[in-house]
C-alpha cells in the first residue's frame, strides 16, 4: 500500500500539518468552505440512532490507546435510561512522544467541535467538556476562540442550526498529571478531586461524570466523526484495512530525517512510515530500535517493522499502537538509557494507590539505576521480569499495567545490552545475546 502524504489526498484530516505555536489555522469560514458542518446538517435531519449505526458500520475504534469500538460505546450511553448525559473529549495527551491531539486542536479545531456535536446528538447529551492538558495553552486558546465562533454562528449552544438540539461545550484545564488521561481519573479530576482512577465496572458509559452516563473519547476519535457521517461508512472503509478501517495520526520523533505529524491509512508497515514519512534515518546511520506507542508502548528491533499498522496484526506481535507515537532510535543509542527514562517517568506519575505499581516501580527504578551504574547482576534481570509481570497482572489501572511494556519488550529483544551491564555475566554469555 502506498502512503498518501499529508494534505495531498483524500483522507480524514486533509491538511498539511505544520509545527509552531500558531492558533486556529483553519478558521470557521475556511472550514465551512471545505465542506465543514455538512455532516452535522445531515445528521440533524436524521434519527440519532442512524448516526450511531453509521459509526458502527464504519468500524471506528478509539484512537486514545485502548482501541474500543466507538459506535458500541455510543450505543451504551444512548441506551441508558438516565436522560442527563455528558460527552467528554479527552485532550489530556500525556503519552510522551505524542502531539497529534495538539495539532488537531490548533490546526482543525472545528473538525473536533463538529465531531463532538455529532457525538452529543448521537447519544443525546446536551453538555460537553473538553479536558485539555495544562501544557497546551495554545490549544486551549484555539479551542476557546473556536467555541465562541461556533456559538456565534449557531453551530453550538441552543437550537443548533435551527433544530431542537442544544449542546453546550466547556473547556476544563488539566494541571500536569499523566494519570488524568485515564478516563476515570479524568472524571475525578473534573469533579475537583485528586486525579486517581476508579474501579471499572461501572464504566463511564454507565456511571461517568457525577454518576451520569458519559461518552469519553479521544480528540482524534471525535475528529473522525465529521468524515464518517459526512461521507458514509462505505467511503470510510475504503481507507485502511478490513480489520482496521480509516487512518491514524502518527507522531514521528527521534532519529529520522523528517520528524512530525503524519496521517496514514491503516495497513502501511512501520518500515514504510519510517522511510516514506520519516525520510529514513538521520545522518545516514542505521536503525537500531523503534519505540511504538510512547512510554507505555514497546521497543522493537528492525526485523519487526514489516508488521502492518493494524490492530489485529499488531496485537499478534504484542505491538501496542497506543496513541500512535513512533520514536526512532539509531545505532548509537542505548536501550537501557531509554528504559531508564521511561521507568523514571512512570515512578513520577504513579499515584501510589496500589502496591504493585507504587512499590514495583520503585524497585524497577532502583535496579535499572544499578544496571546503568555497572552494579547490576544476573539475578537483577530475573527480578526485573518478575516485578514487571506483577505490575502487568495486578496493578489497579492502565498506568501500572502498561508501565513495564518497554522493559519487557526490550528484555526480550535486546537482552544482550542488559547482560553487558551486569557485573557477574561472563563475556562469553554476553556474546550470545539476542540483539
Amino acid at each position: 500500500m502506498n502512503i498518501r502524504r499529508n494534505g495531498q489526498s483524500d483522507l480524514v484530516f486533509n491538511i498539511e500539518w505544520q509545527g509552531g505555536q500558531t492558533g486556529a489555522q483553519i478558521d470557521l469560514p475556511d472550514y465551512l468552505a471545505r465542506g465543514g458542518y455538512q455532516a452535522l446538517r445531515r445528521a440533524l435531519a436524521t434519527d440519532p440512532a442512524q448516526v450511531v449505526q453509521t459509526v458502527k458500520d464504519a468500524g471506528l475504534r478509539g484512537r486514545g490507546g485502548a482501541a474500543f469500538p466507538t459506535g458500541l460505546k455510543m450505543e451504551h450511553v444512548r441506551d441508558n435510561l438516565e436522560l442527563e448525559r455528558y460527552v467528554i473529549c479527552n485532550a489530556d495527551e500525556g503519552e510522551p512522544g505524542t502531539f497529534k491531539d495538539r495539532f488537531v486542536m490548533t490546526h482543525l479545531p472545528f473538525q473536533l467541535l463538529e465531531g463532538m456535536t455529532l457525538a452529543a446528538y448521537a447519544v443525546g447529551a446536551n453538555r460537553g467538556i473538553i479536558y485539555i492538558r495544562y501544557e497546551y495553552p495554545e490549544a486551549q486558546a484555539s479551542i476557546r476562540h473556536s467555541i465562541a465562533a461556533a456559538v456565534e454562528a449557531g453551530l453550538l449552544g441552543d437550537n443548533i442550526l435551527g433544530s431542537e438540539f442544544s449542546f453546550h461545550l466547556e473547556i476544563f484545564s488539566g494541571a500536569g498529571s499523566y494519570l488524568c488521561g485515564e478516563e476515570t481519573a479524568l472524571l475525578s479530576s473534573i469533579e475537583g478531586k485528586k486525579g486517581r482512577p476508579r474501579l471499572k465496572p461501572p464504566y463511564p458509559t454507565q456511571s461517568g461524570l457525577w454518576g451520569k452516563p458519559t461518552l469519553i473519547n479521544n480528540v482524534e476519535t471525535l475528529a473522525n466523526l465529521p468524515a464518517i457521517i459526512g461521507r458514509g461508512a462505505v467511503w470510510y472503509r475504503s481507507l485502511g484495512t478490513a480489520d482496521s478501517p480509516g487512518t491514524k495520526l502518527i507522531s514521528l520523533s527521534g532519529d529520522v530525517n523528517n520528524r512530525g505529524l503524519f496521517e496514514v491509512p491503516f495497513g502501511v508497515s512501520f518500515r514504510e512510515i519510517i522511510e516514506s514519512c520519516g525520510g529514513g534515518i538521520k545522518n545516514g546511520r542505521k536503525l537500531k530500535a523503534v519505540n511504538i506507542g510512547g512510554a507505555s508502548g514497546v521497543v522493537v528491533p528492525p526485523h519487526e517493522l514489516d508488521c502492518r499498522l493494524e490492530y489485529g496484526a499488531c496485537a499478534k506481535r504484542e505491538i501496542t499502537i497506543g496513541s500512535g507515537a513512533v520514536f526512532v532510535l539509531d545505532d548509537t543509542r542505548s536501550i537501557l538509557d531509554n528504559v531508564r527514562n521511561r521507568a523514571a517517568f512512570f515512578l513520577h506519575e504513579s499515584c501510589g494507590k496500589c502496591t504493585p505499581c507504587r512499590e514495583g516501580l520503585r524497585q524497577v527504578n532502583r535496579i535499572i539505576g544499578a544496571l546503568c551504574g555497572g552494579a547490576g547482576t544476573a539475578s537483577d534481570l530475573a527480578k526485573l521480569e518478575r516485578y514487571t509481570r506483577t505490575m502487568q497482572q495486578a496493578a489497579f489501572c492502565g498506568l501500572g499495567q502498561a508501565a513495564g511494556n518497554t522493559l519487557i519488550s526490550s528484555l526480550a529483544y535486546f537482552r544482550s545490552e542488559y547482560e553487558a551491564a551486569c557485573r557477574d555475566v561472563q563475556p562469553a554469555a554476553k556474546k550470545e545475546g539476542t540483539a
Partner: protein, 159 residues
C-alpha cells in the same frame, strides 16, 4: 489575600463555588500570584468558600505537578525530560541552563528571578530538544540558544 494581583475572592466570584470549580480556582490563583504558587492562606480561603475541608483542598492541590505550593521565580523555565528530548540532547541544555542560572534542576534562584523545572513531554517532540519559558515553547534548541533565551529574559526585566 495573595501577594499581588487578583484576590482569591475575585477569582472565586468569577469561577463559582461548585465542586468542579476547585481545580480551575487553584490554577487561577496560581496564575495571579507573581511567585507562581498557591499559598496556605489562599487554600484556607478556598476551602472556606467552597465548603470543603482544608485537607481536601490540599490533597487536590498537591496532587498536580503544575500546581506549586512553594514560591517560584518570576520566570519559569521548563525543560522537557522525556525520552525523545533526552535523546536529542536534553542533558546539555540542562547543564547550560544550570550554569547560566547557577541553580540545579528543581531550584529557584536566590534573587527569585528564575525557577528551573523538569517537565513531561510538551507535545513538541518534532522539535526536540524543547523547553518552555513562561509558557512559550522553544524547540530545536542548542545549549547556546537556551542561554540566549535566559539572557533575553533578563534584559526584558531590566527594561
Amino acid at each position: 489575600m495573595l501577594d499581588k494581583g487578583k484576590s482569591v475572592q475575585a477569582i472565586i466570584s468569577e469561577i463559582g463555588t461548585s465542586k468542579t470549580a476547585l481545580l480551575p480556582i487553584l490554577l487561577a490563583v496560581q496564575d495571579a500570584s507573581p511567585a507562581h504558587y498557591v499559598n496556605e492562606a489562599a487554600m484556607n480561603e478556598i476551602a472556606a468558600r467552597l465548603k470543603l475541608s482544608r485537607s481536601r483542598v490540599y490533597s487536590t492541590a498537591s496532587f498536580y505537578s503544575e500546581i506549586s505550593l512553594k514560591p517560584r521565580g518570576r520566570n519559569i523555565v521548563q525543560v522537557c525530560v522525556n525520552a525523545p528530548c533526552e535523546n536529542a540532547g536534553k542533558a546539555a541544555i540542562i547543564r547550560a541552563l544550570e550554569n547560566e542560572l547557577t541553580i540545579t534542576l528543581g531550584e529557584t534562584s536566590a534573587d527569585a528571578q528564575f525557577t528551573l523545572e523538569g517537565v513531561n513531554c510538551l507535545g513538541a517532540c518534532y522539535l526536540s530538544p524543547a523547553i518552555k519559558v513562561n509558557g512559550r515553547l522553544y524547540g530545536n534548541l542548542t545549549a547556546a540558544a537556551a542561554v540566549d533565551i535566559i539572557r533575553q529574559c533578563r534584559e526584558g526585566e531590566a527594561n
